[in-house]
């Protein structure tokens, strides 16, 4: 068990040393020529992309364009057949496990809200908190006042202040989405990957989520995969369009919406 302790602490040290001088023109994540195929189907085809520090980027594209597969490659769930993902210019993500990738500072929200249904909302956030994640530490860990304050701050941010002691399984779908976003914030990641964060939310909830994301701009890098065009427009960010596992075009929302190729494969349908 001691092996893993030293392993992860090395990674943390590495991550924090590169994070000491954050500049907004730094590349936080570089995807270089990744390809993934499943039984002959090319989910990603020589895809290259760059994400900047503290940037909010939206990714759109038709079903099967490879948006989720791209996130899987970054977070270690899927290993690309070719190509590399490099975090903070130094960390080759293909060498790390899912847990180690989370520890270097990449948080991920799944398409289907994935939370701990038999724990309370408070406990969900407690478990997500950035801290020592070894067995030994967890066996003796105690929630102190500083942590309590951090958790209640996050609860407010994601509009769950009233629900701290409720079982997470009892939340509405939209609230579960928020809880998962809250868990990501507790991790305090440098890069957040959000897969369809507003799916199943009411218009009101969607708008509040947009406000939350806008408030995170400049503090974290966010990559948002979304189908809801109004929501993407609300974020006023750079938009990347994927199609058939490759990048189709990139630009401001208005420019992308006017691009005839985009209309052809996606918006026009």
């Amino acid at each position: 068990m001691s092996d893993v302790t030293t392993d992860t602490s090395n990674i943390k040290a590495e991550a924090s040393s590169t994070a000491t001088t954050p500049k907004n023109d730094d590349v936080i994540l570089e995807i270089a020529n990744i390809s993934v195929s499943f039984d002959g189907f090319k989910a990603l085809n020589d895809l290259s992309m760059k994400f900047m520090r503290n940037e909010l980027r939206c990714i759109i594209g038709p079903n099967g364009a490879g948006k989720t597969t791209m996130m899987d490659c970054i977070t270690g769930k899927t290993r690309p057949d070719e190509g590399t993902c490099t975090f903070n210019n130094t960390v080759d993500l293909s060498l790390l496990t899912e847990a180690e990738i989370a520890l270097v500072g990449i948080g991920r929200k799944f398409q289907k809200p994935t939370i701990f249904e038999s724990h309370t909302v408070f406990e969900n956030l407690e478990l997500a908190m950035k801290t020592d994640k070894t067995v030994f530490f967890s066996l003796f860990a105690v929630v102190d006042d500083v942590m309590r304050d951090r958790i209640s701050d996050t609860l407010k941010k994601v509009n769950l202040g009233e629900h701290a002691d409720q079982l997470a399984g009892r939340l509405s779908h939209g609230q579960k989405q928020w809880l998962e976003i809250g868990m990501l914030l507790m991790q305090d990641p440098q890069l957040l990957l959000l897969d369809e964060p507003v799916a199943g939310m009411t218009d009101d909830e969607t708008e509040r989520t947009g406000e939350l994301f806008n408030s995170l701009k400049g503090k974290h890098s966010l990559v948002v995969v979304e189908h809801d065009m109004d929501f993407v427009a609300q974020l006023k960010s750079m938009v990347t369009v994927l199609d058939q596992g490759a990048m189709l075009c990139e630009g401001e929302m208005a420019a992308v919406q006017a691009d005839p190729r985009v209309i052809e494969v996606y918006l026009g349908r």
């Binding site: 847990a99 994935t114 006042d145």
Partner: protein
Amino acid sequence: MSNARTPFVVRFFSATGRTGWIALVLFALLTIVAVPVCHLMFQEGDALFISTFYVTLIGKIMCYAIVAVAMDLIWGYAGVLSLAQGLFFALGGYAFGMYLMRSIGLDGVYQSHLPDFMVFLDWKEYPWFWAFTDSFVYAIFLAIAAPGLLAFIFGFFVFRSRVKGVYFAIISQAMLYAFLLLFFMNNTGFGGNNGFTDFKRILGYDITSPEMRATLFALSSATLMFALIFGRYVVTSKYGRILTAIRDAEMRVMFLGYNPLWYKLFIWTVAAIICGIAGALYVPQVGIINPSEMATANSIEIAIWAAIGGRGTLVGPAIGAFVVNLSKSWFTVAFPEYWLYFLGLLFVLVTLLLPQGLVGLYQQLRARSTR
């Protein structure tokens, strides 16, 4: 409510709530004071006399209850259905049994310093793995280390390969069966089919004396209570919350930066060690250990105790072990042919009607009466 300044010892023992402590104190008065006193101070025919039969029976069931608590830690809380707990139990039993065999000394049938089965095989000296087993302390160590080490090695590879659910259950049962076959062979050096028996003494004291029986009985009870207190601390700690989180959404846990391998491996190894200790307490009380303890049916029965008592409650599986084994000892006398049918029926009924087991039923009834 505990905070960061509360000493660990206080946090450890206060994880068990008030009701829990009241129950434990009552149980302790009954099993550590009342039963030994009744067994030792009264004679056959006295109204308060508790016979050797009952002391041995309840002592044995308390060992089973310890195993059930371990089963709940690994199955109820971590969601890992293990069908190999009987193996760890037997390994602990064999480890302590080695000491018991060597304590027979020259009192065996062949009056050799070797156990009878080795004389029978025409062996001249102890095999290497019997080294130091004449030491009581080493035997206790071995009863902990052997199941712990095996569980750690097996668990490391299986959990690392992310084997889960029914596949894990099957692999664990395969391991159990492999060891069953191994221990059945005479050449393995553990007495083959017959195992170890005819024990004479522990630390020089007669193993069949009422004092020894009462001592083993009280020790089993103390171990059971400690297992419950320890288990309660573990499952209410942050570690325990992560464990149930792994059970419910392993992917999420991984993407939060926890490595499920070490989390599962810890509780899996601890559960095996608890089973080993239970086995070491069991063998001197029943006076025999043989490969039948590794039968697949035995390990499945452990899962049934947990399910009947109520998974994820710790005390439930212990109660389940008592209920099933007490009815077993009654049934096998009254209707020996029908025990397995009854056990099957009980399991089906509990699964269908009481998914939370007996403890869940009690909680439901209480919630209804307070409403």
